[in-house]
């Protein structure tokens, strides 16, 4: 059954902006992105909003809804109270372009800084074989849809703009973890560079990235903490360090 809901939408650009109140009709089963589109169609023709699949798989409609980083296409209007005002703003960790659209190019720059998979030199293309249990481990990380909600909520960059140059962020820690756990990846020093170049040590495990991940990837438990432990192996554990020097191997 249709009902009118109260919406507050942030309108503006990098120079100025404000929250604007609107009342809009919402039908049963609709998500926040639906009502934003209705506002766009009926009341704010120039409202900027980024979206694509409307199925929680493209990661385009990331925004903050009642202060929480979420996908607008996966947030049911019915999950809010009948009298509750739904406040919608752009992601607050990135520069705003217009209205609900932000410039997320920070993430693409960070992606380019992560060295790619390095194939064993003695293994020809097509000859690589992996056991299922080795594949499964990194499969979880491959679910990432690059919505950048984890990057947005991470206080290391959200609350400290100056850290952006030295901190890759949770999305890229799962990428590093995926590669470091890959049985065939031969690139050495991923652990060292994760700590020294990508800012792994700046993460203080507050798990907000895990809380907001729409794919329910256990970013902290399965990627960041394991990487921190691997860094301890090579940097802060004299026994492990000595063992690696004697046996001359980084991973088992």
């Amino acid at each position: 059954m249709a009902r009118n809901i109260k919406l507050r939408i942030w309108r503006g650009d990098s120079t100025d902006g404000a929250l604007k109140d609107v009342v809009v009709e919402a039908n049963e089963g609709e998500v926040v992105l639906d009502v934003i589109h209705r506002v766009q169609a009926t009341q704010m023709g120039d409202l900027a909003v980024r979206w694509n699949c409307k199925a929680g798989k493209c990661g385009s409609c990331s925004m903050e809804i009642n202060g929480k980083p979420r996908l607008a296409c996966m947030t049911q209007v019915a999950s809010f109270g009948e009298e509750e005002t739904i406040t919608v703003t752009p992601l607050r960790a990135f520069p705003v372009i217009k209205d609900l659209v932000t410039d997320v190019s920070f993430n693409y720059k960070k992606a380019m800084e992560i060295p790619a998979y390095e194939h064993p030199k003695d293994l020809a293309p097509g000859e690589a074989r992996m056991e299922q249990i080795d594949v499964e481990r990194s499969q979880e990380f491959r679910k990432c849809i690059e919505c950048f909600l984890c990057q947005d909520v991470c206080h290391v960059v959200r609350d400290h703009e100056e850290n952006k140059k030295s901190f890759a962020g949770p999305r890229f820690f799962i990428r590093i973890a995926e590669l470091d756990m890959h049985p065939l990846d031969t690139l050495k020093n991923r652990k060292k560079t994760a700590q020294e170049e990508h800012g792994l040590g700046m993460c203080n495990i507050t798990k907000c990235c895990t809380e907001v991940c729409p794919e329910h990837i256990r970013i902290t438990d399965n990627a960041i903490i394991p990487m921190k432990e691997r860094v301890v192996d090579i940097k802060y554990d004299p026994a492990r360090w000595l063992g690696s020097k004697i046996r001359r191997r980084e991973g088992l």
Binding site: E64, P90, V96, E131, I133, V153, H160, C203, V232, G251
Partner: protein, 266 residues
């Protein structure tokens, strides 16, 4: 201006627009941990009422000094001189360094106290009050990387506390085959400490997490999957074990001081 108030970001004056009770969780965490710290400090300095045959408080175990109350040592094994224990004011002040270090560097507790005590951040998407942030890259927080050493020490302590729980199945005259409320309290406390330790992220890494090839190490892979199951509940084990240890100490204290009677089931 930094963070969410940086010039290029959306001009929103509120530190957060969250409408839920985001402050409740850190508040509860602060209250519980702060209460525990106050109580543990008081008990560590009290240096009394920590042993009554056959129960010993986990705060004072293993008591390895001649300064310990008679009967509280393990078969009279006292390698730590009374001078050291007296210099430290109480055996507990030496003993508690290890479990305290384990919990302080624990990946779960780090989340809890960074949020509740240091407000870094107080909750997700709530702007923190600090101007600068360097995380765990500098002293003293770089010492969080010593977690595995405290984990190893914690395992040794668990062995002692399990021994204490087994010993508690004696009666006050030293005869086996008896069980009291105290036995139950120490058994639950030591069991939860094992669950807390074995569900630890460092344990998960040690048994198999550091491997690149699970398929080449089937036994370690199996161990890793078991620890991973426990690891899902690490947060719960952290709180349950903390509460159980605190209650075990309260129970022994009350029995030792004569306020409560240790009821024997058989």
């Amino acid at each position: 201006m930094s963070g969410v108030f940086s010039p290029a970001r959306a001009k929103i004056k509120e530190r957060t627009l969250r409408t839920d009770k985001w402050w409740l969780q850190p508040l509860i965490t602060f209250a519980v941990l702060f209460s525990f710290i106050i109580y543990a400090t008081f008990r560590a300095f009290e240096n009394a009422n920590y042993f009554v045959e056959p129960l010993i408080s986990p705060f004072y175990s293993p008591c390895l000094s001649q300064a310990c109350i008679a009967g509280s040592t393990i078969a009279g094994f006292t390698p730590v001189s009374a001078h050291i224990a007296n210099f430290a004011l109480s055996p507990a002040l030496i003993i508690l360094i290890f479990p305290l270090g384990f919990r302080m560097t624990c990946y779960y507790y780090r989340k809890a106290y960074y949020r509740a005590f240091w407000l870094s951040p107080p909750a997700c998407a709530v702007a923190e009050p600090h101007e600068k942030y360097t995380g765990e890259t500098r002293a003293p927080l770089i010492l969080q990387n010593a977690h595995r050493w405290f984990f190893y020490a914690g395992l040794v302590f668990n062995v002692f506390l399990t021994y204490d729980a087994i010993i508690s199945f004696k009666n006050a005259e030293g005869q086996w085959g008896h069980m009291s409320v105290g036995s139950l309290v120490l058994l639950v406390s030591s069991s939860l400490l094992w669950f807390y330790s074995l569900s630890c992220h460092t344990c998960r890494h040690t048994v198999g997490g550091r491997l690149k090839h699970f398929s080449k190490h089937p036994v370690r892979y199996k161990l890793w999957t078991w620890v991973s199951i426990l690891n899902h509940k690490h947060q719960q084990f952290a709180w349950y074990s903390l509460a159980a240890v605190a209650f075990a100490d309260i129970y022994v204290r009350q029995v030792a001081s004569g306020a409560w009677t240790n009821f024997y089931f058989f």
